[in-house]
Subunit: 244 residues, 6 copies
Amino acid sequence: MKPTLNSPEPAPLLAFGAHPDDIEFGCGGVIARETLAGRKAHFVVCSRGEAGTHGAPKQRTAEATKSAALLGATIEFLKLDGDAHLEVRVAHAIKLAEIIRRVRPSVVLAPSLVENQHPDHARLGRLVRDASRLARYGGLKKLRRQKPHAIEQLFFYAVTPDAEPREITPVMIDVSEPEIVATWAAAMHAHASQTSTRNYVELQLTRARLLGARAGVGHVIALFPNEPLVFESLAHAGRGARRF
Amino acid sequence: MKPTLNSPEPAPLLAFGAHPDDIEFGCGGVIARETLAGRKAHFVVCSRGEAGTHGAPKQRTAEATKSAALLGATIEFLKLDGDAHLEVRVAHAIKLAEIIRRVRPSVVLAPSLVENQHPDHARLGRLVRDASRLARYGGLKKLRRQKPHAIEQLFFYAVTPDAEPREITPVMIDVSEPEIVATWAAAMHAHASQTSTRNYVELQLTRARLLGARAGVGHVIALFPNEPLVFESLAHAGRGARRF
Amino acid sequence: MKPTLNSPEPAPLLAFGAHPDDIEFGCGGVIARETLAGRKAHFVVCSRGEAGTHGAPKQRTAEATKSAALLGATIEFLKLDGDAHLEVRVAHAIKLAEIIRRVRPSVVLAPSLVENQHPDHARLGRLVRDASRLARYGGLKKLRRQKPHAIEQLFFYAVTPDAEPREITPVMIDVSEPEIVATWAAAMHAHASQTSTRNYVELQLTRARLLGARAGVGHVIALFPNEPLVFESLAHAGRGARRF
Amino acid sequence: MKPTLNSPEPAPLLAFGAHPDDIEFGCGGVIARETLAGRKAHFVVCSRGEAGTHGAPKQRTAEATKSAALLGATIEFLKLDGDAHLEVRVAHAIKLAEIIRRVRPSVVLAPSLVENQHPDHARLGRLVRDASRLARYGGLKKLRRQKPHAIEQLFFYAVTPDAEPREITPVMIDVSEPEIVATWAAAMHAHASQTSTRNYVELQLTRARLLGARAGVGHVIALFPNEPLVFESLAHAGRGARRF
Amino acid sequence: MKPTLNSPEPAPLLAFGAHPDDIEFGCGGVIARETLAGRKAHFVVCSRGEAGTHGAPKQRTAEATKSAALLGATIEFLKLDGDAHLEVRVAHAIKLAEIIRRVRPSVVLAPSLVENQHPDHARLGRLVRDASRLARYGGLKKLRRQKPHAIEQLFFYAVTPDAEPREITPVMIDVSEPEIVATWAAAMHAHASQTSTRNYVELQLTRARLLGARAGVGHVIALFPNEPLVFESLAHAGRGARRF
Amino acid sequence: MKPTLNSPEPAPLLAFGAHPDDIEFGCGGVIARETLAGRKAHFVVCSRGEAGTHGAPKQRTAEATKSAALLGATIEFLKLDGDAHLEVRVAHAIKLAEIIRRVRPSVVLAPSLVENQHPDHARLGRLVRDASRLARYGGLKKLRRQKPHAIEQLFFYAVTPDAEPREITPVMIDVSEPEIVATWAAAMHAHASQTSTRNYVELQLTRARLLGARAGVGHVIALFPNEPLVFESLAHAGRGARRF
């Protein structure tokens, strides 16, 4: 049931972002935690951030590439409708499903579905959710060249605090280890064009410290599972996050 | 963070029930799963079922004792206000906290807080939740003889399907192993006074099969965590429950 | 207010499905119940299931045709975007509204709006909901050839348990009569391509038995009304579903 | 399943109110509708309104007695903890269960459970919900002299608009008939001490008109079922409430 | 932080409607209140109501123009996909963002996001929400000719009672002043084609009286803020709406 | 409608806490903001913290007294059931109502009603909500010596992040002014017994900074209104909290 636990090489993690810095700001600490433990991670970034107030596409691409490397992840850029122009089209979901079949991850990460955030975020989240299904349907013509693949779990991350869904009980990933926090911070700072005018890095670390304080550890990142989680026994089902 | 995982003897599991058969019908398969894996389990039953339509208190006590033994659990009966008479009183919560300090469990199980079920169920759930806190407060005079104890996690179980809370994402425990299902069924059948007129056992196994079908396994019992769960990494965070 | 109740021939029921087997698996027992009582039923199936893992389009069409006949319903196939390709377009809603104006049903059935299921299901549900409105607007040019029609009620059905909406109180339809259960089961088994590898039929009957147990009858199918229900008096407003 | 529908004399309706005017203001039109159709109705009023700003207990008792008569209902007063002093005690629920066993109603009406209203309202609602269960448990010593009774359905009414629960889909009862509206209005005006300073009657009729406009009729009162409603077929399941 | 409070000329209010009468019926009283206080108001109407049952496009345009004038607002018509044909396209959101940058409002009003209403309403609401973000992103090529603009707040209005969102705490605007009520009523009556067959005006005034009764004033219109509201102190944070 | 806005001396603010430090940690910055602006504030603390792990009752009383003084508030201690022993009794609500009638505040602050926190917090919140009603009922014998008083608004504060209610849209109070932050921090540090082992002060300031970042200011405290807020116009209704 959980082949990734004991296998010599766990299945890779696949993370999708709408903009060059979404993955890092939303769940960079989790990526660092996983690659540090020897898991492969791959990023798919669906725009060059060309509609943002700061940073030219070329610079943003370079920043994302550097940041992924710091986190130990590989990266690719996928052109869909462009920054601030993303729409929910089946054709996009099929492209994402194609990547899922190629990378064959156990865990997929995508921006949350909360609508009241940057419109690209929730739309990409919906596309990834649909793509995770399409990836395992056998009859899809456009995907015929690749073997169907069923992922183990889809988790949503929240790029900003108000993107945290209220109707899903989160899963808390402990990222307190100093090496992880440092790597995460470095990866966020690599997006220099975004951190020059506003303190995004501090915002994210503050969020993680606040959740960590609640859970009795240093830093925590909350992920939101798309499906209830199945465990072999209670011994595997984590511990509760409450210290205050 | 998860000392129970590798330690030679995991901390015991403590389950509370309002009536002699609540624990078995609500989560007996999980108990069987845990004791089979070598964990100790202890039941606290807070009435003798004396207001029920079927079964005298003496018979119900005997049934519960036999059933607990089948599940590999120890059992004690605690008199609070009596069957169908339970009220939410701090004095009760303190008694329950005393038991928590004595048993020193990592996991506590209690009936869910959904109000629209047998009134004793939700009230006991609230008392256990409060007791789990009181058990770790250092200054409580009445609990002074016992060292404070912080549990790892409180899970709620649903005695019937309509007692499943809608606002908590459940955790699914796989209880498909034939030995577990058989033990669970036997433990429910031990409550002969309750199963003679209505097919409670079938109801519970049907629920477990339906959840199992959803998760791609044989039988599953859903538990509802009182707090978000903390994990060391994604590799420990289970897999998603979706097969249809 | 409820002219269908006493009229010699009640207005027909109109059910929409995204795939050849959705209606049968989601609410086939209700269809059997209604046609048995002399009501006409018509199915509109919006793909040939061509993206599914099992069953070629031709076979699936034949299966659906046979299954509808078993349930006493007529059937038509409507090409929209194709299986796993459905998008929410006004042009689609207008086509569905055209069918509503033609069939002039009192009750319309559609897959639920829960997003976390096969993407075609929720999208078709939204299209049908919109179509039910468009069908009664007088000024729509493309619908001008047909007289506007106001349906009495739109109910959503859930193809799988996780498609049951949590924020709508369901209406429980008693389908316990042996003849109804048998007809429903036969109609599901008619989709042989879908039932060969997974026990879909058992899944649905188990769901219905579980709901039935809750309501004190044999089998129940839950439907989810799009609007609150209006009754002439309390004597018409059903009875509560609780037996445990 | 719905024996009340065709039986010569339907089982009575039993309505509980925390104060002398709660039933009338919350659902008086429904009472008028039912008694007009030949159903018996009985009111249980659990205080004399002695904490209210206007009206002495004696006057309020007289007003309630007159108002019940106008609605064709019998009435009794039950002393629990007194106006504005009601607490949720099992002893109270047992008293209410005793009345349920005596009156043997099919339908029970109680104030809604929404907490943010007069505290007596929600507490009485909870007591009635618990009493409806206790009334059918066979082993309760204090209720032993009366045969257990299972009601068909418990509906909650909202004394004021903000007491309408948001998480239950309401059932709309059409009370548009002029005779019903007139009787309801007269019953409300009978509470002269309460209507002299504020326009409570207008508030309630306005609510009913607004809901009626939504449903395409004159006046509607919304009731909130404690359990999903079971119907024998779709033909019995009402029609949707939407006209705008 | 609240420059509009003391500034000689407050920033204008910008209201979007899907049909010629949506703004007036949904929140006309608020518009009257603001223009009476000297604030400029501008309407953007995104169809001519050409799919409605009553009223030709030309008549509806004239009615809307007259109605806006009565409310002291300017008006423009924007062609998107046409009445009953609106789809959520980024190109539309960009057009709306262009208007926001041109008008530079502090407050924006849009129809609510509740899905179960006229499909154009919720879709326009989503487009306006997205547009409010796009208006402040610096890098959007198509908007390059206009300076980015950040609005102060986006409020949703509900064209009909069932369009009121349940998950947002509303803000209540007191529109009791006789002059405001009269102006609002006149503006609604200006839509003669819509008010001839159904009493829409009465419906809206009834809604406002019901909310007013709750708040202890004559008439109130509820608006639903897209973001939590920030205040400089409690003295600025209004008073609670409860009188019954 | 908002007499406190322009009156020379605004009505006092009344804050209730279950333990000596609840008010300060939950909303101390708001208190500082109000007293700095010349409003009187009064604290009612309902235990001496005698069940806590750290700090003897005497020390805690002294700390709370000092802390209130730092915030410019007066303080009184009220004995109800004792720390960790609070129950929801009408007799308690009447005592709190007596204080409300004596102090005659416009705004009342109380701990939130979220159940999954220290049990005393939610219970005190419920008692204060009930008390706010009882304070304005004219007929209550035990309150007869004091004139009824209707407060303007009840706001809930969250002592810890997990006590923030999810179903109420918060109101954000800007407490960024350096003098306010410093006063608030000092008031929290005055509870030396509570801050010696865990970094409660840092937890609260982090929360406020995170909310502030969201709102585009330095520090924000969220309050949760018990009733929708009524405003005279949009110009008074704050601005939206979104900067990211």
